[in-house]
């Protein structure tokens, strides 16, 4: 209990050290997908958990500490869900390697908690034979006891325990019922039945037969079909009502991300400015203050403002996933997505990408098929994210006259905005088609989607999920953004002229802007816009602030205002070229960082950045020469 006051103070998911290491005697949680394994893990560890990636791969590694009633701490690791111990996917391979002690970074677990769904015992028991054959002390956990009872299923635990030669616990992780049995097992106080020789079966039908016999011997009576699930599915998968509900959910998610998250974003933004001004008032005017405010504070702030959106999105995805609706949504969207070579599970991540590609790419975790997931990650940044909006708004307001196109229904500005949304969408769909018919062509993996029973999401699980995601978001994207902003700040402040910061055109950033000018001249852009393009590598909307400050430094253009100065410097063709450039280019360091993290290396983010950059260059070149 010694370091537990640190977590009672609300200090997030970060443990001081990784509880599971090469030397620690940890306990592994395993089980098939949809067995409630993660719910149990959350119950056992609460806030004392940590998420990281297994080195070199995209599989997440959840570790935590369970505190026994006597105060002892047991390190736990939540392994990826698996159907069998014959590893085929990356997830399964990792779980298998950990269980057999073949991973260099993690010791073989001292014990296993095997989580099975008690309402679907016969099938889930298939996993018990190979796991028990590993020879590691194992507690067989039959989860969802509440469902089993309510639907009239039953079994003889003593008989099952004797059949398997291992202790068995019937519990409900969702309700927190029967957890004392797990603590008892972890404390080593659970009576062990006589060990039993189990058949080692490689072939699935024999394994299922064995599981069936064990179930029969334990007098297992399968529960009645889930009544409410059938009733709800009759609506959610109804030929007419189903798509309508689906559409309503999509609109709700979309609306909330824009209408609810935006004010929240403004509040955070306002708070950052307020604290920034306060710091500015306290500190004397110096280079250090400028670094702290313009570099660190605004840099970190530009990431933090997206937190409300990320949280709301993950709240939605959490509710959809935990309730079981996400599987139905994926089912309904599958046919449409299949037309571009993707699948139903790509739909929600792509929808989320309209808010921000960062949480969207994080949301692709629900796609098990690796190639489909990769394709979704690669096209997500084409969706018109909210960071493009300030850029679009600025340029459109300065260059597109506000005149009606379709009466009062559609104005020219709205039409251009809509066109930019369509442009991004078309680029995404085309890219998906190309990817899925070439490099990421799926090796005919069948599309299999288990439809879990509907369940109420629990507050604990939703809360932990949000906490988890916000920590990942802030830590990963925040550190990279911070670094880039500091580098940019330094570049805008060197070389020093008589001990003072240079004007922007004499700074390193200005020199750089002029150096790249020949490259962007064919796009109708000057070196000032060039600096904006460079700074917007950090985040798209940075160009607005950058142009604001560049033009603000020049008294002449300062008086005219940003819009008018841009009109002076850019032709109409150049403005459209700039819009097209932002529609295509991957100007977002957070996205690059998150793609690197999710794909486990630099290969894909570099490819993606290059591809989108080339497309942006060609696109704006064409736009400038047609319109210019």
């Amino acid at each position: 209990m010694s370091d537990c006051h640190s977590c009672s103070a609300g200090s997030v998911v970060v443990l001081p050290v990784d509880p599971v290491s090469k030397t620690s005697r940890h306990v592994a949680l395993i089980g098939p997908p949809n067995s409630g394994k993660t719910t149990l893990f959350n119950r056992l560890t609460g806030l004392r958990q940590k998420v990281a990636n297994f080195p070199g791969v995209t599989v997440e590694r959840h570790t935590g500490v369970a505190v026994l009633p006597d105060g002892r701490e047991v390190p736990l690791i939540d392994l990826p869900g698996l159907y069998s111990l014959a590893p085929r996917s990356e997830d399964e391979q990792i779980a298998y390697d950990v269980l057999t002690g073949q991973r260099g970074d993690i010791a073989k677990p001292q014990a296993i908690l095997l989580v099975l769904d008690s309402t679907n015992l016969a099938r889930h028991l298939m996993l018990a034979a190979p796991v028990l054959a590993l020879g590691i002390p194992t507690l067989i956990i039959l989860n969802m006891a509440d469902d089993l009872r309510r639907r009239g299923g039953e079994l003889d635990l003593t008989a099952l325990s004797a059949q398997l030669g291992a202790p068995v616990a019937l519990l409900s992780a969702r309700q927190g019922e029967g957890l004392d049995q797990v603590f008892q097992f972890l404390a080593g106080a659970m009576p062990k039945p006589a060990p039993k020789e189990l058949p080692i079966l490689q072939d699935v039908p024999k394994c299922r037969q064995w599981a069936g016999r064990v179930g029969n011997a334990a007098r297992y009576r399968a529960p009645a079909p889930p009544k409410w699930t059938r009733r709800l599915d009759a609506v959610f998968l109804h030929p007419v009502a189903g798509p309508l509900v689906f559409l309503a959910v999509v609109i709700l998610v979309f609306q909330t991300i824009f209408n609810v998250a935006d004010p929240a974003k403004d509040v955070v933004d306002h708070f950052i400015h307020l604290t920034g001004n306060w710091v500015a008032a306290v500190l004397p005017d110096s280079l250090f203050r400028s670094l702290l405010l313009d570099g660190v504070w605004n840099g970190v702030g530009s990431v933090v403002v997206f937190l409300p959106q990320v949280l709301l999105l993950f709240l939605f995805i959490g509710i959809l996933e935990d309730s079981g609706y996400l599987a139905r949504a994926a089912l309904i969207a599958d046919r449409t997505m299949a037309k571009v070579g993707l699948q139903g599970k790509s739909f929600i991540p792509l929808l989320s990408a309209y808010a921000c590609a960062v949480p969207a790419i994080m949301a692709t975790r629900t796609i098990e098929n690796k190639r489909d997931r990769m394709a979704t990650i690669l096209i997500a940044p084409f969706m018109t994210c909210s960071a493009r909006l300030p850029v679009y708004t600025l340029i459109i307001a300065a260059f597109i006259p506000n005149r009606p196109v379709l009466g009062s229904f559609l104005g020219a500005r709205a039409l251009v905005m809509l066109g930019l949304y369509v442009l991004g969408f078309v680029a995404a769909v085309t890219t998906a088609r190309v990817l899925k018919s070439s490099v990421l062509k799926s090796a005919r993996a069948p599309f299999l989607l288990e439809m879990p029973s509907y369940r109420w999401p629990t507050l604990q699980s939703l809360g932990l999920r949000l906490l988890d995601r916000s920590v990942v978001f802030l830590r990963r994207a925040g550190t990279v953004i911070l670094l880039v902003m500091v580098v940019l700040w330094v570049m805008a402040h060197v070389p020093l002229v008589h001990g003072h910061a240079p004007t922007i055109d004499n700074s390193l950033a200005g020199t750089l802007g002029r150096t790249i000018e020949p490259a962007i001249k064919p796009l109708g852009m000057n070196w000032k816009v060039g600096i904006g393009l460079i700074t917007s590598l950090a985040a798209r909307e940075t160009i607005v602030a950058t142009l604001g400050s560049i033009y603000g430094m020049d008294p002449e253009s300062n008086q005219a205002g940003l819009g008018a100065s841009l009109q002076h410097d850019l032709s109409f063709g150049g403005a459209v070229a700039l819009l097209v450039f932002f529609a295509f280019a991957m100007q977002c360091i957070s996205t690059i960082a998150v793609v690197r993290r999710e794909t486990g290396g630099w290969k894909w983010p570099i490819l993606q950045f290059t591809y989108m950059g080339v497309l942006a260059y060609i696109g704006s070149f064409v736009a400038f020469h047609i319109l210019g």
């Binding site: 079909p225 069948p446 439809m451």
Partner: protein
């Protein structure tokens, strides 16, 4: 009367499997004539039940399907589907699994009985 009913049932079954390669087998068991048909799983109409006969897919894919409960000899009931009928949910071994048509085409089932959906 009974014969008429049986005939009607046969017709219903046939109409369920129109266009598919079906193999009709008539088995004589006492007085009852039981009818069994082999058909691809994809042709099963909603509410129909059948027993899985064989999976005609590469080993890896077949194994994944078997782990999810699609084992030869298991009873499968066709359930609801996405709009347009693809993918369709199948109730098998206590769970509900959705398969695309392109996958369900490679699973052969033996039809037990037929219940017309309302």
């Amino acid at each position: 009367m009974a014969a008429k009913k049986r005939k009607k049932r046969t017709e219903t079954l046939d109409s369920n499997f129109r266009g598919a390669h079906t193999e009709t087998m008539l088995q004589l068991g006492g007085n009852k004539r039981e009818l069994a048909l082999l058909a691809p799983l994809v042709d099963l109409a909603r509410g129909d039940a059948a027993t899985l006969e064989k999976i005609d897919l590469p080993n890896d894919e077949a194994r994944r399907l078997m782990e999810l409960g699609f084992l030869p000899g298991t009873r499968i009931t066709a359930g609801l589907s996405a709009p347009g009928g693809d993918p369709r949910v199948f109730q098998v071994d206590g769970s509900e699994i959705a398969l695309r048509r392109e996958t369900a085409r490679h699973l052969t089932v033996r039809v037990e009985k037929s219940k017309r959906p309302r």
